[in-house]
């Protein structure tokens, strides 16, 4: 009906004239979203700035940082590998403990369990996630270390050791692996399972030969996320793994007796940052700057792992019709 004149409105678009208060609130909301970018920029900038001070001091060069295998600030040696070794050792022990348990638990919960069983075990896993890491550290020091020393002898296992910290970190990340894997397993459509059963396969065969391979991208991505969490873990490592970096020289030191020995102490990157920061710390000393250099390294490590995980999901994701 060509009766626009009777409507009495001028022909302007209603959407264009927003009320001024609206614009302000929308601006505020956008600002909230943009704060997150400010945080990331802040992290990279601040860490980078102090790290640059660390390298610019003249005492340490980037080459030394990445090639020396001795970390001894008093002696002026700042190679990162001992601390990375500590972090990686603990994370590997954690993954060795957590992946079988977490994966098997996820398979049981998604393929075998009925709702009553699930209703019992899932809250347990949620409680495990909610326990603060400092309490896990206490647990590692007061239960796990004496247990290991009792089982394997106190001359074989040091008071601070990688295994104790690694096992407890593993317990810590089991719920993470379990829930991410369970999500991936449940995303596999039931038709695939039914097809397997129709062919006469047992539940075990359907789970391991059909469902798990189909969910592999999600599971693998979950494992990478869990590894990233283990790398960033601080309190358990600080309390149970000790405060002495495992300095080594390739070729001179025995590989399995010393370098990869999980029963001796080895400081991790996060442990070093905490110990240094809680001592006497004056600004602009090389110690202060060193924690930022290590922090920056840690940030890029976890960022890389998380990005890898996301890319794995995107690239290998199964598309079901």
């Amino acid at each position: 009906m060509a009766n626009e004149g009777n409507v009495g409105l001028e022909s302007r678009s209603l959407t264009k004239k927003a009320r001024p208060g609206e614009l302000a609130i929308r601006g505020f909301l956008f600002f909230c979203g943009a704060i997150s970018i400010a945080i990331t920029i802040g992290i990279v900038y601040e860490l980078g700035k102090e790290a640059l001070l660390f390298f610019g001091d003249g005492q340490v060069s980037l080459v030394d940082y990445f090639t020396t295998t001795v970390w001894q600030p008093q002696a002026g040696s700042f190679g990162i590998w001992p601390l990375v070794l500590g972090t990686v050792l603990i994370s590997v022990v954690a993954m060795v403990v957590a992946v079988p348990i977490g994966l098997l638990a996820a398979i049981y919960l998604s393929e075998y369990a009925n709702s009553k069983v699930r209703g019992f075990f899932k809250p347990v896993l949620e409680v495990l996630v909610g326990i603060p890491t400092v309490v896990y550290g206490f647990f590692a020091l007061t239960f796990m270390t004496p247990l290991l020393r009792g089982m394997l002898g106190s001359s074989f296992v040091g008071f601070f050791n990688v295994a104790s910290a690694g096992i407890v970190v593993g317990i810590l990340i089991v719920p993470l692996i379990s829930s991410l894997s369970e999500d991936a397993l449940r995303a596999v459509p039931d038709s695939l399972r039914q097809a397997g059963y129709a062919l006469g396969a047992s539940k075990f065969e359907v789970s391991m030969r059909i469902v798990v391979p189909a969910a592999l991208s999600g599971i693998a991505a979950g494992l990478v996320v869990a590894m990233s969490r283990a790398v960033g873990e601080t309190m358990v490592v600080t309390l149970a793994a000790g405060a002495s970096p495992r300095n080594f020289t390739l070729g001179d030191d025995s590989l399995f007796g010393y370098i990869l020995n999980p029963f001796e102490s080895a400081q991790a990157m996060t442990g070093y940052i905490v110990i240094t920061a809680s001592g006497d710390l004056s600004y602009n000393t090389i110690d202060y700057n060193s924690i930022f250099a290590i922090g920056l390294t840690l940030f890029f490590m976890t960022l890389g792992l998380n990005s890898l995980s996301r890319r794995m999901v995107k690239r290998f994701q199964e598309v079901y019709e």
Binding site: R19, E22, L29, C32, G33, A34, I35, S36, I37, I39, T40, I43, E46, L47, I101, L104, I107, Y108, L109, F121, E126, V127, G130, P132, T133, V134, V135, G137, F138, F139, L141, T142, F143, I171, P175, A195, G196, L199, A201, K203, F204, E205, M208, S228, R229, G232, T234, T238, L239, T270, I273, V274, A277, S278, I291, L298, T302, L303, N306, Y320
Partner: protein, 468 residues
């Protein structure tokens, strides 16, 4: 991508000869073993949790052998009270300060007074003139700006300095319940072998000690483990949570509303979303370093409060509750954003369309229709984020939680400590008594978290029933 049945194994499944039966048996046995292994994995997880809780509870109660320099009953009786009806905690504030006056040397007393005064209006150990001189020096002690002590604080001092308890041996809960005589024998053997230094067997009394108790919760921190409590830590954690929530919830929910309701798909908005997902995975210690570099160091005038007040600030540097609270706020921000996004996305689109059809602007629709429906989900996510923030330790260490304070925090510019920090410190001391303290504090922390999580679950259940 279709999944094909393994073709070469079909022949395995249906062989021509009688081995068929044996093959089936083998397969079903393998299936059963696997199922048991998977269940075993879950059971191991449950066992780990049970062991953890058992370790903590076991360490928090038990028999102890304690030697007091002055028995509390003697002290109370000396003041003229009947020990049957009055105990040390019943004494008045003035009586306790009087006890300190008579038992402490003036040097120790002055030091205590400079840390924190006993009375607002008069000085106990110091002369007025000296006090003014000390407070106008270039580095005045904390007592010049802090408020006066309170009952719990002074009671703790009396126990520390007048009673001076010393625990010489401690037993865990389960052995204490099952074999108390064993502990007595152990203590007697200790005295026989001179393990307890100068103490004689007659001085020690064996008593039951609940490390986790109401006294523990209300006592301030102390250098002596026998007397220490978590009052300062709990108050510190409380202040931290208030600041964290005040920062993270408005900004987080605002960002979520923007991303879900207003953001058009564009490179910038994609970047923001990816960025938030990345930030959620950054280790908490990196946030601590950000807080140290920015809030403690660069923004020190703001966070220490010195631009707001004229006198010296309660903490003389940027290591205040405000810095730590904002740092924790930054840490929980990505989690709050993501969970609020989930809550907003779960609101059915029909509400949005209905609002638009009625002529409301986007903002009006959001405020009156969408937000109320999403609010339970947002609240649940916030509570869970708070629960996570309460348990964080590493960022607080970096931002400078005080290693030892006995004064209650009075505001956002105070020095602070927090419950996880206290657990961390006590765990790192080797003596048995500190382990007990750490265990008891862990119980407190876990109970607090349990309450928060239960609140979140109840909220979720109540509102999901309403929505039906």
């Amino acid at each position: 991508m279709t999944v094909e049945a393994p073709s070469r194994e079909i022949k395995e499944f249906f062989p021509e000869d009688e081995d068929y039966r044996g093959l089936l048996d083998r397969r079903s046995r393998r299936a059963r073993i696997f199922q048991m292994l998977a269940l075993l994995a879950l059971i191991i997880a449950v066992l780990a949790l049970a062991t953890l809780i058992y370790t903590i509870v076991n360490d928090s109660f038990g028999l102890v052998a304690v030697v007091n320099q002055n028995e509390p009953e003697d002290v109370v009786a000396d003041l003229g009270y009947d020990t049957a009806t009055t105990s040390l905690g019943d004494l008045s504030y003035d009586e306790m300060v009087g006890l300190l006056e008579t038992s402490l040397s003036s040097g120790v007393g002055r030091r205590l007074e400079r840390d924190q005064r006993f009375y607002e209006d008069r000085l106990v150990f110091e002369t007025d003139a000296k006090w003014i001189e000390v407070c106008s020096s270039s580095e005045p002690p904390s007592g010049c700006t802090l408020g006066p002590r309170n009952q719990a604080n002074v009671l703790s001092l009396v126990q520390e300095r007048v009673i001076v308890p010393d625990i010489i041996a401690a037993y865990e809960l389960v052995p204490s319940l099952l074999d108390p005589e064993g502990f007595e024998e152990e203590v007697a053997a200790g005295f026989a072998s001179d393990r307890f230094g100068d103490y004689t067997a007659g001085q020690a009394s064996i008593e039951w000690r609940a490390w986790f108790s109401w006294t523990f919760i209300t006592s301030p921190s102390s250098a002596i483990p026998e007397v220490a409590g978590i009052r300062t830590a709990i108050l510190g954690s409380f202040w931290l949570v208030v600041i964290t929530v005040a920062f993270a919830v408005p900004v987080g929910v605002g960002a979520a509303i923007y991303l879900v309701e207003f953001a058009k798909p564009s490179r910038l908005n994609d970047l923001i979303q990816t960025n938030i997902n990345n930030l959620a995975g950054v280790p908490s210690i990196v946030y601590g370093m950000l807080g140290l570099a920015v809030f403690v160091r660069v923004l020190e005038p703001l966070t220490s409060g010195s631009i707001f007040s004229s006198g010296p600030p309660p903490a003389d540097n940027g290591r205040t509750i405000l810095s730590a609270g904002i740092t924790l706020g930054l840490l929980t921000l990505p989690v709050v954003i993501i969970s609020s996004q989930e809550a907003l996305k779960s609101v059915p689109n029909s509400l949005r369309s209905a609002g638009m059809a009625l002529g409301a602007t986007k903002l009006q629709t959001v405020r009156s229709q969408i937000l109320p429906v999403a609010m339970p989900g947002i609240l649940t996510g916030t509570i869970l984020a708070i629960a996570r923030a309460i348990g964080e330790t590493a960022p607080l260490i970096l931002v400078g939680a005080a290693s030892f304070i006995t004064a209650d925090p009075t505001g956002p510019f105070s020095k602070f400590t927090a419950l996880p920090i206290q657990i961390f410190q006590w765990t790192s001391f080797p003596q048995v008594e500190f382990q007990k303290l750490a265990a008891a504090a862990s119980i407190a922390l876990l109970l607090l978290l349990l309450t928060l999580n239960a609140a979140a679950v109840i909220l979720r259940n109540r509102y999901s029933r309403r929505a039906e």
